[in-house]
């Protein structure tokens, strides 16, 4: 165990996997000589050399597709998008090539690779740099979508993602890069597809992922002061979703609130709400509530940005409503 940042945990995961397996390489904009736009790849060029840590031109579609071809040829690429916002240019390769390749080729070609980078809205970066692409990626069979919320998960999940033989979209959060936490040294793997109960509670289930886990835990503390004991579940892997852990919790609490930073319409909260409807309807004492980013493009102004994001207060309020305490 050592106390390191989320950023360092990701770096450790990549370094360890690159030492284990020389088919693994890291490619993206500014990952090598600049040590990463967000310094996630700090020192990796020095450690692994220019053949395995590679700076690209600003051509997301091109190098994403390069990664797909390299994976088809037997390598294990880790392709970094400086942020996931820019991956919108590369979706054809992620969705039409990587996700569908194994099926289209009758199982002959698999695409074992990781697309990773920072997702979410960061701070004050405006409408075009605040896209929650996970809402689209989880729609696609063939992809796995992972979103770690703390340093230990970041390491354990990224190592699992790199070892996985499928295409994994690994979405980090810029705001979390500096977060510090206890991280197991060396070999530490968190299997994909397993949710984690970040806080046990009896009265209500709060499901949140990525940056929103921190908000949910803060809300849970406030709710505890108000006499409401919230359970906080972090799916960690969004696709495929570990619905059993969520349903088991709801069977116990009979109430649920789903929190997400992204847009509401066809967001992950909608899917989770629909699944609880389908499999946990009789357990529900109240309708599942969603707390989401507002249905607007992200504004630059500090006050508008704050209003656009979900807040701890909104989560608390939603829980109180669901618990009939509003």
């Amino acid at each position: 165990m050592s106390r390191i940042t989320y950023r360092e945990a990701l770096n450790q995961a990549m370094c360890e996997e690159m030492e284990n397996d020389d088919r693994v390489f890291l490619m993206g904009e500014e990952v090598a000589e600049y040590n990463g736009a967000y310094k996630v790849s700090q020192g990796m060029l020095e450690k692994f050399g220019p053949k395995r840590v590679i700076d690209t031109p600003i051509t997301e579609l091109g190098f994403a597709g390069l990664g797909v071809g390299a994976a088809m040829a037997g390598l294990k690429p880790v392709i970094e998008f400086m942020t996931w916002n820019f991956a919108i240019l590369a979706l054809d390769q992620i969705v039409n090539a990587a996700a569908k390749m194994k099926y289209m080729s009758g199982g002959q070609y698999s695409v074992p690779m990781v697309f990773r980078g920072a997702g979410g809205s960061a701070a004050r970066v405006g409408a075009q740099h605040s896209q929650a692409l996970e809402n689209w990626l989880v729609n696609v069979p063939g992809l796995k979508v992972v979103m770690p919320s703390n340093p230990a998960d970041a390491k354990g999940l990224l190592k699992a993602a790199i070892r996985d033989n499928d295409t994994v979209c690994f979405i980090e959060n810029e705001i979390n890069y500096g977060d510090i936490g206890e991280v197991p040294d060396g070999e530490y793997i968190i299997p994909l597809g397993r949710a984690d109960i970040k806080r046990a509670g009896r009265d209500v289930t709060i499901v949140a992922h990525s940056r929103m886990v921190g908000y949910a835990l803060a809300a849970a503390e406030e709710l505890a002061r108000q006499g409401i004991d919230a359970e906080v579940i972090d799916p960690r892997t969004i696709r495929p979703l570990d619905e059993n852990t969520i349903l088991t919790s709801v069977a116990k609490t009979n109430r649920a609130v789903v929190v997400e930073e992204g847009w509401r319409f066809c967001g992950i909260g909608a899917e989770i709400s629909a699944r609880i409807m389908e499999r946990g309807f009789d357990d529900l004492d109240a309708p599942v509530a969603r707390v989401t980013g507002k249905d607007v493009p992200m504004a630059y102004a500090e006050n508008l940005e704050r209003l656009t994001m979900p807040s701890v207060a909104e989560i608390v309020e939603a829980v109180r409503v669901v618990c009939g305490r509003a």
Binding site: G65, S105, P240
Partner: protein, 351 residues
């Protein structure tokens, strides 16, 4: 194959200073003719509604993929667009499996899951079969990157159409391939039409071999209706790529005799234009004349060969048709290598 041509047989022919053995010439001829008859049969089966969806035939373009095959090593990587029947057959995949794929059968080259546009054969290093115009180009440089990374001496041969060559992904790929000197040959099959759009209506620079100049990718234009020229020039291009000098573009001038797909009447071309290519420049007739001139065959022997091939194709189709549809359970296979138990398939009850 390059090796093979060195040990020249007594009989054979020399073209542009290059020797071709009788065996090689017959292989080239027979494969081109086989592809021609295969595509005609595919057209018939489509007419009989035994093949569905989009079906793009390559009649007239046989010399490009066959010449490429003879110039390349079996370990080299090849990928193309949805117009892929000729390429996968030239690579040596089992024709019955290719036809079975068109028929959507269990024994299809991709188990009936891909169809006409998505043929793959990993054994033959044939990587598709891509339906999104231009998509195979970034994928192609990825294969070339892997050869650079492993230094395995392989070359990637990536085909694109004259319409597809306008896609932005192509230039992102030219730049990366040129910058890193990746071992890749970009073959532009210029059949002069993208569906109903003639090249001049879609491309500001219609000399497509020049499309790499802005990225320092050299290019050459070749006669795609002459299998010997294709073999010769492709050998040069592949040698260039293999030597570590980086990518190169080969623009093969060719023509598709049929419509864009089975549903295209191709009224945008004049009869005269089609005839000029079809009767004037047909790659199969041309090779036959060259071989007859070299005493490697006669009108009659080629007629006989054609009868044989038609028979073989007829039998092949029967075998393919005899196959069952994929088992329904195939619906849920080949999606993940590592499916997550309890979480996939979704929703759990199915499959």
């Amino acid at each position: 194959m390059v090796a093979k041509q060195k040990q020249v047989k007594a009989k054979g022919l020399t073209h542009e200073g290059r020797d071709y053995s009788a065996k090689t010439l017959h292989e080239m001829h027979d494969m081109m003719l086989y592809i021609r008859r295969f595509e005609e049969k595919a057209g018939q089966m489509y007419g009989l509604k035994k093949i569905g969806g989009f079906c793009h035939l390559c009649n007239g373009q046989e010399a490009v993929c066959v010449g490429m095959e003879h110039a390349s090593e079996s370990t080299d990587y090849v990928m193309t667009s949805y117009r892929d029947h000729g390429h996968i057959l030239a690579r040596g995949s089992d024709p019955t499996a290719v036809m079975a794929e068109l028929l959507g059968r269990a024994g299809g080259v991709v188990k009936g899951k891909g169809g006409s546009m998505h043929m793959f054969d990993v054994e033959k290093n044939f990587a598709g079969g891509n339906g999104i115009v231009g998509e195979q180009v970034p994928i192609g440089i990825g294969f070339a990157f892997s050869s650079w990374y492993r230094n395995d001496g392989r070359v990637t041969i990536c085909f694109i159409g004259d319409g597809g060559v306008n896609q932005g992904a192509v230039y992102e790929s030219f730049n990366i391939a040129s910058l890193w000197k990746l071992p890749v040959v970009f073959v532009i099959e210029n059949n002069q039409y993208a569906m109903g759009t003639s090249i001049g209506r879609a491309s500001a620079e219609t000399h497509l071999f020049k499309r790499g100049i802005s990225f320092k990718v050299p290019g050459m234009q070749i006669d795609g209706m002459d299998v010997l020229e294709v073999e010769r020039k492709m050998s040069e291009a592949i040698a260039h790529a293999r030597s570590g000098e980086g990518p190169i573009i080969v623009e093969a001038m060719t023509y598709r005799y049929r419509g864009h797909s089975m549903s295209d009447p191709a009224t945008y071309r004049t009869r005269a234009e089609v005839d000029e290519w079809r009767s004037g420049r047909d790659p199969i007739a041309r090779l036959q004349q060259q071989m007859i001139g070299a005493g490697l065959g006669t009108e009659e022997s080629f007629k006989e060969k054609d009868r044989e091939i038609k028979k073989a194709v007829a039998k092949m189709v029967k075998d393919a048709e005899a196959q069952p549809e994929p088992d329904p359970s195939e619906l849920w296979t080949d999606i993940y290598c590592d499916p997550i138990e309890g979480a996939y398939p979704y929703p759990g009850k199915v499959g």
